[in-house]
Assembly symmetry: C2
Homo-oligomer: 563 residues x 2
């Protein structure tokens, strides 16, 4: 008779057991045939369609635009059960291709879908604006009865006792949670790898990361294994995977989507806050989720949420002349690391599209971007990474990610911490004043209505290599809402390496040297549309304007959208 206690088990064995349990939950009739995909298959985006595992109706459902799915659910044309089953099956395939799922609770989702269908049959009414729609959730978001290890071996076995405030609202609005998705260890970097669930890869090029920390969502959504997901963003974590996976996402301002009941590293680090945000192949779905949450008065459930519902006047751009000739500021270069060539091509195309649509585009030079990133890193490092190391020590598992080799540091004193806040306060004021000062150049009397910039310094990086993320960081420090939109994909013919002889510094040179169009071929390229603090509704409207302008411009020029 053998007795194995948790303490006596290695962390590797515990993770293996956990992963095996996960794989056992994949529906047997969705398992990919051996040999269909090999290690040499880099672009797997067509596999769900070509695998033969999904019926024509399942393909129709999962490849419909999310607003169209919602309309068919609300009219009763499709049942929630059919839609949920289709996405569960496609999610299983997506997972086999990219390792994007952490918790699989298809059974709960299908049971809820059936109940909702029965309710609909009885009442003839949709439960809410998300009626019957499967929604995937980043690992950290609590769902009652579902394990939430948060990607740490030491937390395997911890089950969320209650629904998080967000999930409570999603359920009330008719959504169907059915799976959780992979994250960066502790959410500390822009990939999706940890010792419990392993590494998620980019479905457009599996040698690359999907981005992160909400990378599981990125891969799952890109493969249409989910019509709508929720990630979190403390330094770019919904915008980076959206950009690297050809998706839309919103990083809302602080305290709008409830965080209550969502776990995180460094609980109580309230200086630069993580926010939850929607991700989808559809910008309309991103808006629908955000509006649905606000319409449910989330401040009743989360004491830290602002008492501020959806503002239609914000969405109508009341503060921006109601979209009559907007002025966009184009951030070509942040002064520290010039974006890789495909971003310049994407921005040039967007500029032409906006001008063709009657808007104005001016250059925008950011205010002390490097200082913003410095404030962010010093904030995240405030405890010398003690919280992370203490959590790793629970199981003996190692640190992973780009900083895997970096040892535990020193905690700041409170005096240093408060000084950091004061420094942030000055940076915030400088940032606001710099933005407002653009009113001298726009010709509208207003400052630039929104700023457009890359989602990262380069395309999705090779797995476990560094990436430059200041292009998202500044929004987190300044609390600017931002929408990521897909624009193009890396094309070695269009995006050759540009010869440069001068650099902003060593980091700029490093990332320039790293760029190789062959390595990044087919990798999606996304841009952000950024508005001022609290302008969440407006930034959604302006992202729609950019997206529509781009589509119209391409239609007029007979080019197709490669993303």
């Amino acid at each position: 008779m053998t007795s194995t206690t948790a303490a006596a088990t290695t962390w590797q064995a515990r993770a293996e057991t956990k992963q095996a349990a996960r794989e056992a939950l994949l529906p047997a009739d969705t398992i990919l045939p051996p040999g269909l995909v090999t290690d040499q298959t880099t672009d797997v985006t067509a596999i769900p369609r070509t695998s033969g595992l999904l019926s024509a109706h399942e393909l129709e459902i999962t490849e419909s635009e999310t607003p169209a799915i919602l309309a068919k659910l609300a009219s009763g044309e499709w049942t929630s059960e059919a839609v949920t089953r289709a996405f569960c099956r496609r999610a299983s395939i997506a997972h086999q291709l990219t390792n994007c799922l952490t918790e699989i609770f298809f059974d709960k989702g299908i049971a809820r879908a059936k109940a909702l269908d029965e309710e609909f049959k009885r009442t003839g009414k949709a439960r809410g604006p998300l009626h019957g729609l499967p929604v995937s959730l980043k690992e950290q978001i609590g769902v009652a009865g579902v394990e939430r290890s948060f990607g740490f071996v030491g937390f395997i076995g911890r089950v969320a006792e209650v629904d998080s405030a967000l999930v409570e609202i999603l359920l009330a609005q008719g959504a169907i949670p059915y799976c959780a998705t992979n994250i960066a260890q502790g959410l500390f970097f822009g990939e999706a790898v940890n010792n419990v669930f392993g590494e998620t890869v980019n479905p457009y090029n599996r040698k690359l990361t999907p981005g992160g920390s909400s990378g599981g969502e990125g891969a799952l959504l890109a493969l249409r294994g989910s019509p709508l997901g929720v990630g979190s963003d403390i330094g770019g974590s919904v915008r980076i995977p959206a950009g690297h996976c050809g998706l839309y996402s919103l990083r809302p301002s602080y305290q709008r989507i409830p965080y209550e009941g969502t776990c995180n590293s460094q609980e109580g680090q309230d200086s630069i806050r993580s926010v939850l945000g929607p991700m989808s192949t559809s910008l309309g779905a991103v808006k629908t989720l955000f509006k649905s949450v606000l319409d449910a008065q989330p401040w009743r459930l989360d004491p830290q949420v602002l008492r501020q519902g959806w503002r239609e006047e914000g969405y109508a751009l009341a503060d921006h002349g109601h979209d009559q000739g907007l002025v966009f500021g184009m951030m070509w270069d942040d002064g520290s690391v010039r974006p890789a060539p495909p971003y310049a091509r994407a921005m040039t195309e967007v500029k032409a599209a906006l001008e063709a649509a009657g808007h104005k585009v001016v250059d925008f030079v950011p205010y002390e971007a490097a200082e913003g990133t410095a404030i962010m890193y010093e904030s995240f490092g405030g405890d010398g990474m003690r919280d992370l190391f203490d959590t790793l020590a629970l199981s003996g598992e190692p640190r992973v990610g780009p900083q895997a080799d970096q040892p535990q540091g020193t905690e700041l004193t409170i005096t240093q911490w408060w000084s950091l806040h004061a420094r942030k306060g000055r940076w915030l004021k400088g940032q606001l004043d710099a933005w407002n000062a653009t009113s001298k150049t726009t010709g509208t009397g207003r400052a630039v209505d929104a700023i457009i910039c890359p989602v990262a310094g380069g395309p999705a990086q090779v797995l476990r290599t560094p990436q430059y993320h200041t292009y998202t960081h500044w929004c987190n420090v300044a609390d600017f809402p931002a929408v990521a939109i897909p624009v193009t994909r890396v094309d070695p013919a269009l995006d050759p390496k540009v010869e440069r002889s001068d650099y902003h510094g060593d980091m700029d040179k490093h990332f320039w040297e790293q760029y190789d169009p062959q390595v990044y071929a087919n990798s999606p390229i996304g841009l952000q549309v950024v508005a001022q603090k609290g302008e969440d509704e407006a930034v959604l409207a302006m992202a729609e304007i950019v997206d529509n302008a781009l589509k119209a411009h391409r239609a007029a020029h007979g080019t197709t959208d490669p993303s």
Copy 2:
């Protein structure tokens, strides 16, 4: 030839020089005749009127209700110069009676008033909703060109280079800043005493404190040396002096009135934030100032202010059934220290008044009030008071206030600090859930619309003795907006000591023993009306309802309002 450098001068000498310079700015024809007031004169509220120093017109101006003054300024019936001169002169008298002023810049105020009068003559239009009105400001609020020592000897000579965001807005709305008012050293306690400016006393009973830390405002406004002032509140600092001086005040939610350009102790302590709030003898004036600031879009000047203008639907109580039968929760006792007898009398009268006006009043038991105060004190003590001691060391001046003898403590670690935030997060959720749970008892389907509680455990305390302030603290930790309203004054005949044999604990017993109606005779008694986070407009409306109900009730019963 003698040479005196700052370094060689004692802190006492520097403070004396500073005070002498201040006294020299009092208009010569406002100096009180010797003997009119002695140390035995405790109630000085009638002195401005009886001194003979103010003309009938000056008395008419300064004793008018602030909204009436604004109406006469806006119509041109009164000039801003006349109004400003009248308040300058009365402020001088108030200062001689209570030591309430820190910086005197009557000259700047009068010059601006004249310019505004000329503008009005030319354009026929009021500058804004505060056109021509003198507004007093707590010492910490920056006014360009005015010294801002913040009550520390080591900071004497520091001059604000630019207007704070609030002052910029006040000026744009037509207000006339003309003086700054006294504070507690470092804003750390509920009195108004520091080594630079000395001690402010309560005009209703000069053996007592006016409360604090915005105590200078309290004394000045109570003597009608100002029609409207702005204080700050991190633990009760606009509500305590309002309550102890027979005034109205609003503690707004975080991030609505801009704090940019306002100095503070422990800069960067962002966990429990100080907020600026209006104080006045008129509730209408409190509302007008708050609305004027929001109407000016303060988020354009302060990056930390929410993009959220005045919400008329909040003021119309849209979330509360539009004042058709509100339900108030009465916090008779917080479970740690039972309020002194006059508060029970005040609350009983308010309850009867509200019921007579058709509202419902239920008992409300607060959620873990002591834990809220513990979180607050641990937050304020996060740096072991190093910031305070470092500032004191600049000049060698001693610590003053109830904790004067307490030595410097130990700084927390970041891990401890973040744990404190996490603990606060749990308390916030408990607080919200407890409030929402009252919906089971109201009969309206809503939770209690507002909560009514004392502004302190006792009346204004004897100078430099401890007071119990948990009754204000919970609002700061929870970020609940609250309005202080004056209700009555201590009357030894009506407020005898109540015999008690059981106590919540030692602190309860201590404050019970401290209560002596003779000592506190004539001291104003104020209550707070508290609403949920973000309900600033609603709490103003509900405070008006309480105030009007009380006045109507007294009129119906032929009693007069002693305050």
